[in-house]
Symmetry: C2
């Protein structure tokens, strides 16, 4: 089950960035489960990774290799996360990278590995190696949608986003794909994201931009509050343009690029929520009037994670008491219940420590009957704010996660 439109967007190719897809038969025969990506030699690359202390073997390798150079090949398998696999897992990831390096003619340190799927099982290296030639021989700039399919696990839809803008007569493209539908939470999720642009960007600037865009997108979504061992996001700048290199954050090109990169990341993040496991509602929780952003974040996540609120959303029940309770236990110091105002959509439901005077159940019900729902909370304490996106909690969430071995 997923919500909203299933239409895959038009994807602009990114000059200097190719993708190739194959079926390695890791979990199911015939399923696309292996993706290779190749960036032009002069590309820069940035990465953000899970903060989970049990990060997977490929994450460990990615971090090392990004710190030391500018890897330009990415190999992704689904069906097996190569996580909690100890030293053997590291060796397996290295074997796959080495095979990619040999087939394309680069150093193994130029290859970044990504894995997603079951935790704790040995990586089926031979299956991956056998499928590599198909993936590399198919490398082409127009394979974004194919690759979007090739990185999915429990997702029910491919997720892509693409924007372009003109600057001094040239076209800059930002295109990306992502996967993820459960374990979605701050600091990402069983989430893989790949975004590329043809702009030329210095590596530290690219890294800072990816951090900011991730913070405003993948780190602001939650389905079930779990954070995976494998979350990875990369941003690649191929430099296939005659425009000058972006080397600071004040130039006009950086500002245009920043807007585009954030837009692509937020589209991908929202697509992940729309495809949240068992989701029937897309919920925006916006907290304003906080003293500090961290206070707004705490309350937004307390509301977004509350199983009681999530089940009420599933039932389309305007149960504002549960929202108020979550605001109250979020742990924000000196919260003044009298000052808190809560809107459901445009309907004021809570003020002065209780139900708003003019509020009627019918008004709340009308908002809750929608698929896209906004919960807006004004703390009346200051100017800081934050927004997170989440889903409801349905029977299907239980079914999916009681049945699927992730």
């Amino acid at each position: 089950m997923a919500i909203g439109e299933a239409r895959f967007p038009k994807m602009y190719s990114v000059p200097g960035f190719k993708l190739g897809v194959a079926s390695a038969g890791i979990k199911r025969p015939g399923r696309r489960d292996l993706v290779i990506m190749e960036a032009a030699p002069e590309s820069t690359i940035a990465g953000v990774f899970t903060t989970n202390a049990f990060c997977a073997a490929p994450v460990t390798l990615c971090k090392q290799r990004l710190a030391e150079g500018n890897p330009r090949y990415l190999v992704t398998n689904t069906g097996n996360a190569n996580a909690c696999t100890g030293q053997a897992g590291l060796g397996d990831a290295e074997t796959v990278c080495k095979a990619v390096a040999e087939s394309v003619g680069c150093a193994p340190s130029d290859v970044l590995p990504f894995s997603t799927g079951v935790i704790g099982e040995p990586l089926p290296v031979q299956k991956i190696l056998a499928a590599l030639p198909t993936a590399t021989s198919g490398l082409a700039e127009d394979q974004w949608e194919n690759a979007a399919h090739g990185i999915l696990t429990t997702d029910t839809r491919p997720k892509g986003a693409s924007v372009s803008f003109s600057y001094l007569g040239e076209t800059i493209v930002v295109t990306g794909i992502a996967k993820g539908s459960g374990m979605i939470r701050p600091n990402m999720a069983t989430m893989l994201g790949y975004v590329a642009t043809n702009a030329r960007v210095e590596k530290p600037i690219l890294q800072a931009l990816l951090r900011e865009a991730t913070d405003l997108s993948f780190n602001r979504i939650t389905v079930d509050g779990d954070t995976s061992t494998n979350d990875s996001g990369v941003l690649i700048a191929t430099g296939q343009t005659t425009l000058p290199t972006v080397s600071d954050q004040v130039c006009e090109l950086y500002q245009l690029l920043r807007t585009a990169v954030i837009e692509v990341h937020q589209s991908l993040a929202k697509a992940i929520v729309e495809d949240g496991e068992g989701a029937t509602k897309f919920v925006t929780v916006e907290v304003t009037g906080a003293r500090e952003r961290s206070d707004a974040t705490k309350i937004a996540y307390a509301v977004a994670h509350s199983p009681l609120i999530k089940t009420a959303l599933f039932a389309s029940d305007p149960n504002w008491g549960r929202i108020v309770a979550a605001i109250g236990y979020a742990g924000v110091a000196d919260l003044d219940a009298e000052k808190v105002r809560v809107h459901l959509g445009d309907v004021l439901i809570v003020e002065s420590g209780g139900r708003a005077a003019g509020y009627t159940e019918a008004q709340g019900q009308a908002v809750m009957n929608e698929v896209y729902i906004e919960i807006k909370i004004d703390l009346g304490m200051g100017q800081a704010k934050d927004t997170v996106w989440t889903t409801d909690l349905s029977y299907d969430y239980i079914k999916i996660n009681a049945d699927y071995r992730s």
Copy 2:
């Protein structure tokens, strides 16, 4: 649905403590929903309350009155929480207390109000007032089980615990009842607890004892991570004994009493988990080898709150990868994945950053097939530890909370 035995224990009466029950028809005609308790004049009383910033009107009144005196009447209604009801709610709680005071002949400040049920609806004061005479006229020391029924909401069973011990030829009794089955989490839950003893205890000692016992019981259980607006726990010492007053924490009588009070609180807390909404498993999460207790607590709750782990428990699936992932994202600094050892019951499932060498799926499955399951996590970092108790996450949890307006 609830787990374990439904047998209500033998309840020892507490000399100097009476209970009376009535049906006020607040939510359903004929249901027991009003309870009065009366402590002997020389009693001392201690209380602990929700930390929710949106605490309910009765909680506000209780805190005031406990700070100023030794109230000895307690009036509890179910079916309506009198929470998020603003100034009108405070007035309603005062009206009920005043009526109790008039009928028993005490000052209104000697009455503590407790409410649990729907949030945000006006308290049906007239119904409560009409039923008061029935409750007060029935006051008797042998009404514990009847009162245990009278405080329930979504609970499927009454919850009681009672122990006694002899000291210098006299019998000291500790008896209590509680309610709660959802919104169970540290800092209590939609949880009401009433424990009484015939020991004579100075008020500050009683308060410290209640804090400790609550910390080791109601603050160590979680069903869904939500904390309610109305949680309240009280401990009453009626002083109906010729034994000396307990005025310090080193005397032998205090130590015996402490053990008994903690035992009663833990029994009640575990009974709440066993009656957790939709629960099919009772899960003990024990974290040892932490540098500080707070680290152990963080990890224990990360595991106990993970919807992925909870759905795996529901499915009896020994999905150790999800446990490892939760340990990893709990936010404990410098966690060394290589040192972490995880047991499912007595079966070692994780060591050296991956699946334990001798582990077989059949071993894990055997443990998961049980109703009472232990997840034991050794961090290998130090000597601190903590334990929490929780449930699985089932279809019935969704059903109960999508249907019930709490």
